[in-house]
Symmetry: none
Subunit: 155 residues, 2 copies
Amino acid sequence: MNKTISDIIEEFIISSLDDDSFIELSRNDLAKFFACVPSQINYVLNTRFTINRGFMVESQRGGGGYIKVTRLMDTNENFLKSALNNCTEPVNLARGNQIVNTMQEKALLTKNEAEILKSAISNKALNNPINMENVMRSNILKQVILQLMKNNFHN
Amino acid sequence: MNKTISDIIEEFIISSLDDDSFIELSRNDLAKFFACVPSQINYVLNTRFTINRGFMVESQRGGGGYIKVTRLMDTNENFLKSALNNCTEPVNLARGNQIVNTMQEKALLTKNEAEILKSAISNKALNNPINMENVMRSNILKQVILQLMKNNFHN
DNA sequence: AATGATTAAAGGTCAAAGATAGTCAAACCG
DNA sequence: CGGTTTGACTATCTTTGACCTTTAATCATT
């Protein structure tokens, strides 16, 4: 709704990170640009650009000082890359579920999302013998919907 | 029937929910508008906008604080049943996406979950001409992983 | 030219003030 | 009595400013 100055600064920094994996900022210049006190920048960095949210902040004081914000490519990305590699060849049910479970462990999927996905790749969803996308798709959706019903209503 | 101020606030919020599935309110502004104490708003939310009645309330304190009221369509179960019925016959891409989008609008799927699902039923995921579960599964997973990468890493 | 001292230019910390929202129990009213 | 209204007190998030620390640049001395 009503964005705070902190929200706006956050957006600015994130949008500046679009292409590069890091940027260097000047705390004072940023504060001037947004007409706020310099410590406001620290507030934004401390509350928004945490490790938990996938960022790293380094800085240097003194003349020529700077603040460097890095978007972390943590092991999650490596895992996804390797999993994607796995998918260049057929994936059986056990292996598929294992991949989904690991994604959930790594918080790349919520429990709900993992359940949705596992129902999408279940044998039930995929056991269509004929080459028909629409049929396969309807099977997948059917399974997902059944799963959602189970999640949302207890019967 | 003499309406109480609580009833009137309830009606106001519900009418604000016309098309959108949620709105964000300012507790203080609303209280001022209805010339009541702010905690009156909490009373209305606690007694009228319950899960049981098909609503969800989220909020944030402090500067830029807000109250977000989401309507959880109680016709959700009916919609799922009808969608499931749809899936007894082939579902083309447009129709499939439409179903997923509606599930998202009805808060049955988060944005993330909807994206996952749409990538799972995309033409890319399903265009395998041979009757092989494992191949289809790996295709689906591949698309989902690509989507997750897009969600989690900006490149 | 080398070195040590001083100054200027960053960024950091923390607590108070400001801005919202939440809780709970007493008072009120039908 | 049961639902509603009110307000004092509390909790949480944001903004601000005074004071602190670190580092580069400069200056003075030998």
